[in-house]
Symmetry: C2
Amino acid sequence: MNDTMTTATIEADPKVPIIRVTRDFAATPAQLFRAHTDPELFVRWVGPDGMTTTLDRWDASTGGSWRYLAARNGMEFGFHGCFHEVRPDRIVQTFTWEGDPDGVALETLLFEDLGDGRTRLRAQSLCDSFEGRDAWLRSGMEVGVDQGYAKLDALLAAGRIAGTVEGAEA
Amino acid sequence: MNDTMTTATIEADPKVPIIRVTRDFAATPAQLFRAHTDPELFVRWVGPDGMTTTLDRWDASTGGSWRYLAARNGMEFGFHGCFHEVRPDRIVQTFTWEGDPDGVALETLLFEDLGDGRTRLRAQSLCDSFEGRDAWLRSGMEVGVDQGYAKLDALLAAGRIAGTVEGAEA
C-alpha cells in the first residue's frame, strides 16, 4: 500500500470510436475474473467513491445479462447489458447507460497474465460514433475508473478475493 | 411477385467501421419484428438459398441469447450472440461467426414504418476495426442478405407472417 493512487491509462483511438483503458493489478487473472463476475465482489468496487451499487439482474455467463443501479446523493443511475462471452481470460458485454437509452457500447475486457502475481487489464469500449465516444471521455469517466480500481486494489490487498475460479485453474 | 429480385442497399461507412444495410418490405413493422424474433419464422428465411438453419438456443428478448447452425453441402457454420434489447421498433444484438470466434459485431435493426403496409429495415453492423468490417464486405455477404430477404418477401406474400405481435399493437 502506498499513498499515490495508481491511475489507469485511458486512450482514445484515433481511427475507430474506441476507448481503451489499461490498468495493472497485483492479482492473478483468476482474481480479476472473479472481481468482474462475482456479484458480491463487483458491487464493492465498481464506480466512484460514495456511489452505492445495487444489482437488479446479474448472470455473468455467456448469453447472460445484467442490470445495476448506482446511487449517490439521492440520484440514481441505471446501467444494463448482456454478456456475449464470459471466459477466464476475456469478457465481452454490451453496455447502456439508461440516461441515454438508445446508446450502446460493446465492451471487451482482457486479463493478461504478467507473471509474479500481476495481471494487466485491457478494456475496450466500442461506440458507434466518434461523437458518442468523445462524450464519454468528456463525462469525467476517469474519476469512476480510477476510484473504482483503487477500491479493487484495496479488496485485493485485504485478501478478500480468492485466487481461484470455480471450475477453472488458478 | 415479379421476376426482378429486390436488392438491399449495402454501404460501408467512410468514417466508422460500420456496414449499413437498407431494405424495404411489403410488411408492417410488426410483421418484420415477428420475422426476426419468432424462431420458426426466422429459420425459414435467414441466409442464402440452400442453407439449412437449425437453432441451438433462441431467446429473442432483452437480455436473452441465441445460437444457430447453418448447414449446406456437408459444411456447418455456427453463429451466436446475445440480445441487448428487443422491442417492437428496434433489436440490438451481438453477432459472432464461430469461424472467427473472437470477432464480435454489434448489430442494430430498426423497423421504420413507411405507411401503406410498407416498412424500411435499417440494419447497422459495428465492427471494432476497418479490416474486420472490410473482410465481411469481401466475404460475399450480399448474396446471403439478398437471398434471405427474397425468402422473407415470399413468406410475406404467401401470408405466412401475421401482422400482430403478442403483447403489442399491430
